[in-house]
Symmetry: none
Subunit: 152 residues, 2 copies
DNA sequence: CGCCAGGTGGGGAATTGTGGGTAATCGTGG
DNA sequence: CCACGATTACCCACAATTCCCCACCTGGCG
């Protein structure tokens, strides 16, 4: 499981130094190959190759006639770019994806279980503040059953 | 069960000396590995690794398309950072988390059953005062069933 | 009164993140 | 098919952080 938050910066060429504590696992589990794609919430998703292959297999099998399914396929598969580590343990984040997520220099890397999310730092801070603020008000509306029973 | 309150300080590098009375249990139950993450109320949560893994397992299985579920995952898993004890029985509280909770020097460590809460001292004192003040007014509204039957 | 245990502080080395220079590669257009 | 510019990969250098070690200071206890 990947977890935790890391503040990082991309250099002028768009490269990101993957934190050392994740590097070994990515190297051994997926030969240092990762797939970067986009998320509907305005960030990028980074998958180890092995994990991505599972997701991709499920995505292609969605019913092609369904509009939502096609949209998901275009967004996720369409933007999925394979990247490898360079000698220094960095990956080059493709220009089009950087542009998509509004990333220029400061970024935040968030572990999310089987994948990572990569956010522009300013965007992340805004979003997080909004989530914290709205969190309490929405109580009592209708929580999904899975959330009701959650004890944290 | 962890209980009790301890006033502590972080040193200039952000390290916290875990009170000796908790140390043994953390060492034996979870190999001295703990996970620190954030709470929506502005403090940090500290879990023994074993306890955290249970929570995380439930969290990752929430439906990815649900907005509230994603928010929870991003906040909790996204900030969950694994920490280990140093030779002196201290843990380094990660910089981004210190910043989140407004922690610089004086802190309060609160035992909360399976986990701990870590508060900035000033924030804690304010909040506690506020809870004491507002506590009674809210009576008579409607208590959730689980609270109605509580005998303290 | 000295010893021990627990909490606090800091120096210094190793690791890790950041930044750039330079050569190789690729895609584009002539 | 070649020439050019842009992009990518490899290399080295610096700066920040983290980790490991040792030292102090305080209060309780023999």
């Amino acid at each position: 499981m990947f977890r935790g938050v890391t503040n990082l910066s991309l250099d002028s060429k768009g490269r990101m130094a993957v934190p050392a504590r994740y590097r070994d696992r990515l190297q051994s589990e997926s030969d240092g190959r990762v797939v970067i794609t986009v998320d509907r919430d305005g960030c990028l998703l980074i998958y180890p190759m092995r994990e991505w292959e599972v997701i991709e297999r499920d995505l292609v099998q969605l019913p092609s006639l369904n509009k939502q399914a096609r949209r998901l396929q275009r967004l996720l598969i369409g933007h999925a770019t394979e990247c490898e580590f360079d000698g220094q343990g960095r990956i080059l984040v493709p220009g089009p994806l950087r542009e998509f997520a509004g990333i220029d220099h400061r970024v935040v890397l968030i572990g999310q279980g089987h994948k990572f999310e990569l956010w522009d730092e300013a965007t992340w801070n805004q979003r997080r503040a909004a989530w914290l603020a709205e969190g309490d008000e929405e109580d009592g509306v209708e929580l999904p059953a899975a959330l009701e029973s959650l004890t944290i």
